[in-house]
Chain length 120, copies 6
């Protein structure tokens, strides 16, 4: 039962819609820049999403970590690659990153379990 | 006159040597893990150094940014790639990243100027 | 059903009482300074609460955000003013603020829904 | 019913095992350094755990706070000593520490309640 | 001799120009959103700059603090109002804010000294 | 030539005096709580200063680190004890703590060199 993933995506979609419905120019344009930043450029989208993931991890933002795990996975990041990303976050950010890494791995495992179900 | 680069590298080398001379087991082993983390793995060293750079930028550690700029440059990261990394750091970490980005670009420009001199 | 608001206020009241019951001088005096800080001064209480709100948002403390939303609302801050505060927090603190902004807006909407019920 | 404590310990044990099962060298060695750091040295283990607790508190990592509360308590830290630690965290880290202090005190009270039950 | 102010403004202008000369779309648009955020809206520009100042202070970004002190001062913020802003930053962010407050007050005093010279 | 120490103490004294001269009630009372926090209590002053030092280190506030190094040293903290404190800060806060540890060790070495001169 991929509750973590489904719950995260539903809440994120609902509240982003609520926020954008307020039609606040600076907020809307910030969301636009956020989307633009991860498009293919000198670095490809996959590398940028990995950069977004490690940044979110060292800043210890669980929801941001979840978002970038989903995007990374869609772009083909493998489990060993995820652990390389986590290890950089861990050594840069220290042991306070560990609880966030636990939740990240739990979320990632659920994402992968969902893929298997969808494939079978 | 690459003073920023030379001064950074001299101070870093001198104080790391001083710290390791104390022979504190946990500190020494932390330094060992730090080195190990950036070795080739599922992700190559260049990608890991880029992850280290963006992590340092969002955590706003100027000296860490400098170190990873040097490592990234040695591994062939181009200026447009650096700006892609900076842009992810900027959107994730916000406008408080800007002063650190200014110093990062100043440092990067000096690194590149030094390469040109060495080549001619 | 304003559960977010009621739960927050009940837990906060109960645990503050528990903490102050320990009668620790430095802790008690810190709580006193915290209260004093938001009194009318050169800036009025409403402006100070808005300052407290944006500070809590960029430091990504959900409970602090909730507290200052309640105080701001009691002092007459309007929804468009809240979004101006959120937008400053967003651009200063970056996309890692977004998940906290989602929870802030959800909480604010519940506060306002409660006002409507109380009025009718 | 010590749910906070039991849930924390069960989740922590399960996810640490999952993480270490991946057999990632840098991650495993980081966990090793983390353990080594709190062994008796020039400072004894109790003092080091108090240092770990206050660090976790100012960095506002609830799970880290919980872990170090358990370790401190096993090493004999008393309630008045805990409040001295909390007060340093509060003045250094500011009012954003208060919500984490609330949860820390709630957790500590549950730990102590569990000791009483076990003794009777 | 307003060196702090003049040096800050010269370096900021020079490096912002260098950064924008790279013509990186996401970076340029981020700078645009940053400017837009502080325009008059539901809250006036002065209030928004005060919000930007306190956010910069609790996030302990000296250069951001300097920028917003200049903007606040141009918009008529008085010394007692600045100290009210600083006091909110201090209580929210804790004693680690004090060194940044020292540099902020030194900078503010220099800004005011420069105004007097220009007037006489 | 103990410039680091003398410069730090002179600047700190001068700017604290300037800040307190403004006679802002909340700011003054915050400074009072800050002093009170480190007095002997359930934990002695030396332990509390060590807690203040590690907190400052993981929050990466160089000036706070310097202040607590001076206080710790006056209360008899030895070099091996300082390195134990630094090692906890390092593992909790990660590699971004390293540049601050370099400056801390440089400052500590200067403090100790000054003691030797004063003794001879």
């Amino acid at each position: 039962m991929p509750n973590l993933v489904a719950d995260f995506e539903a809440y994120r979609a609902r509240m982003n819609q609520r926020i954008l419905s307020e039609d606040h120019q600076a907020v809307k344009r910030f969301f636009g820049v956020d989307t633009l930043t991860y498009q293919d450029g000198a670095l490809d989208r996959k590398t940028k999403e990995m950069l977004g993931l490690v940044s979110s991890l060292v800043l210890r933002c669980d929801d941001c970590v979840r978002y970038h795990i989903l995007e990374c996975r869609r772009l083909g990041v493998t489990v060993p690659e995820f652990f390389d990303i986590f290890s950089v976050g861990l050594v840069v950010g220290g042991s306070i990153v560990i609880p966030h890494m636990r939740r990240a791995v739990e979320f990632l495992d659920e994402v992968i379990a969902g893929e298997t179900r969808n494939t079978v």
